[in-house]
């Protein structure tokens, strides 16, 4: 995993609540056995028409979205299916952070494992960001994970929450499996002390 560094970017506004992972990447693209090529399929059914041509009105197809690394979305972003293809598609498109008022649990966990930062902000800040970007699509905000700060164009600072463990993993580019495998002795001890037999499938 890459180390998460401070960056500055324009915002891509998507003012919809409950954006589900079926919109982020439709199920028919989940027949793949690899992680590659998903960025082109991001928001496919909102982004392309029936003939596969880009819908010019959809935000990701507009010039102001080009190169932007932050998605600004509605409440409960990433609800629905557990598909990790959703954060894979978002990061392959170029997003590094998503700002919303709340995130679905599984999506949030999946995002953190892929260096995609879910930034939760209060409702008033959220509404103001939408207003600011509507007035001027070129505004930029700064994401500083180390200090847990979102810096608005006028210099105001909004702090955002993240647990210390996830933050450290992102900043250092550590993946969870490495951390877990170092606890081998504890796992073996746990297995040895379990009362009920857990060899469920060995009866087969």
């Amino acid at each position: 995993m890459n180390k998460f560094t401070t960056f500055q970017s324009r915002l891509v506004p998507l003012p919809v609540d409950n954006v589900d992972t079926d919109q982020i990447i439709p199920a028919r693209f989940l027949k793949t056995v690899s992680k590659d090529g998903l960025g082109d399929q991001l928001f496919y059914d909102w982004r392309y028409d029936a003939e596969g041509k880009p819908r010019p009105e959809f935000i990701l197809n507009r010039p102001e979205a080009k190169g932007a690394q932050i998605l600004l979305a509605g409440d409960n972003f990433g609800c629905g299916s557990s598909r990790e293809h959703a954060p894979w598609a978002l990061t392959q498109f170029g997003f590094r952070a998503i700002i919303s008022t709340s995130f679905a649990d599984i999506f949030r966990q999946n995002a953190l494992k892929n260096s995609l930062l879910p930034i939760m902000v209060p409702r008033d800040v959220h509404a103001e960001l939408f207003r600011l970007v509507e007035r001027n699509p070129d505004i930029e905000v700064t994401v500083n994970l180390a200090d847990q700060k979102l810096i608005l164009p006028d210099g105001r600072v909004v702090e955002f929450p993240i647990d210390a463990f996830s933050k450290q993993c992102l900043l250092e580019g550590v993946d969870e499996l490495g951390y877990i495998l170092k606890r081998e002795a504890a796992i073996a001890a746990y297995e040895a002390r379990r009362i009920l037999s857990i060899n469920t499938l060995s009866q087969a």
Binding site: P15, V16, D17, N18, D20, D22, Q23, P26, A27, R28, L30, K31, T32, V33, S34, K35, D45, A50, G74, D75, N76, C79, G80, S81, S82, R83, E84, P87, S102, F103, A104, D105, I106, Q109, N110, K113, N114, A164, F165, D175, E176, L177, Y179, I180, L181, R183, A186, I187, Y190, E191, I195, L196, S197, I198, N199, T200, L201, S202, Q203, A204
Partner: protein, 468 residues
Amino acid sequence: MNRPRTIIEKIWDAHVVCQDSGAPALLYIDLHLVHEVTSPQAFDDLRRRGLRVRRPNLTLATADHNVPTTDRSLPITDPISAKQVAQLEKNCAEFGIPCHSFSSRCQGIVHVIGPELGLTQPGMTIVCGDSHTATHGALGALAFGIGTSEVENVLASQCLLQRKPQTYRVQVDGVLKPGVTAKDIILALIARIGAGGGTGCVFEYCGSTIRSLGMEERMTVCNMSIEAGARAGLVAPDDTTFQYLYGRPFAPKGKDWETALALWHQLPTDEGADYDKAVTIRAEELEPMITFGTSPQMGIPITAPVPDPTKAVDALERDSLTKALAYMDLEPGKPLIGHPIDVVFIGSCTNGRLVDLRAAASVLKGRKVHPRVRTLIVPGSQEVKRQAEAEGLDRIFRAAGAEWRESGCSMCIAMNGDQLKPGEYCVSTSNRNFEGRQGKGGRTFLASPLTAAASAVKGAVADVRTLQ
């Protein structure tokens, strides 16, 4: 005396392997269910790192999402789907994981076969790379969906890093009116607390109504916990649970059964235990529910009119409702009853078990589905299919003009050939009405098997209670 604990905390506490200060707990997983769609990248990464599957005997795979529900004696014709299923079989063979693939007698939707085989047991931790893993909570297990990175973590270590969830009591008391089912309870809960209402929480469903439900109905309720944002939902085990489990292939036998039973009796929430959140529902107040929009929270009693977006208090909520009604091409203020439909889908991990098929058959017996409506009835597993056929349900469905299919996720996820055409309306017993979920441009009304079957007969959204 120890502090009173909920069943959620009891299962959690019993599975914490270790926890570093400031870090999430390392949680031991008793059963890992694997399917073809969310696992290939995890196996690839294991190979890349040179790791093995730590406990293949606590892991079980099946192919369900991406398999056709047509004649099982024929091979999968879509080469991309065939490749993914073949990859699952290859991965399982290489890593020593039991696999009920496409042609197995035990094949089925992963959340149907776990309980059916007796693998799902009270007090267990169960995960699967699928958000409807909460289904297994019906047996008193802590069961939740995970992403592919977490699938890899569990394959390699049998453990997951998890933060302790909040507890949310969902109390349902009273007697359901005729025509109102388990599906209506969960759709009413989601409409009430919203698609994000349970975020960060595990539901415990309790109360006299939940106690009176059979196991398969409890599975329907737990299944859709994720549609209210809760990663898991469970029901404390009781005699209904134990009777369901007894004698199933993987259930403990003889002396082991007695030992297990004694442990399971200790699981229910202690008197006086606190929950972080709670909601109460009166069963008598519930009507058959149906969704009108593109989020499972957009649900209404079947007799109610479609809500008016201009009456929404919040601007984003108003925009979301407007967008949903535009997609569904529905007018606010009008009732859904009588709205013409093109397809009825009865199946899925929500409502693809024997009791669901019996409910549909009770409506379709002696009736015909409307000539305009394509009706797909898809058993949740090969075992469900055999049982339904032994009872003659397949003959009732065929006589009514419905299609009786092979087992799989089918039109719930529409990546296997079963799908809506753009613009079509479907009354579906599945769990998600998201845009395009049942096929690009398709429009979904979520409802119970009774409502779906009644609608198939009428050719339009129908209230089963008024069916002639």
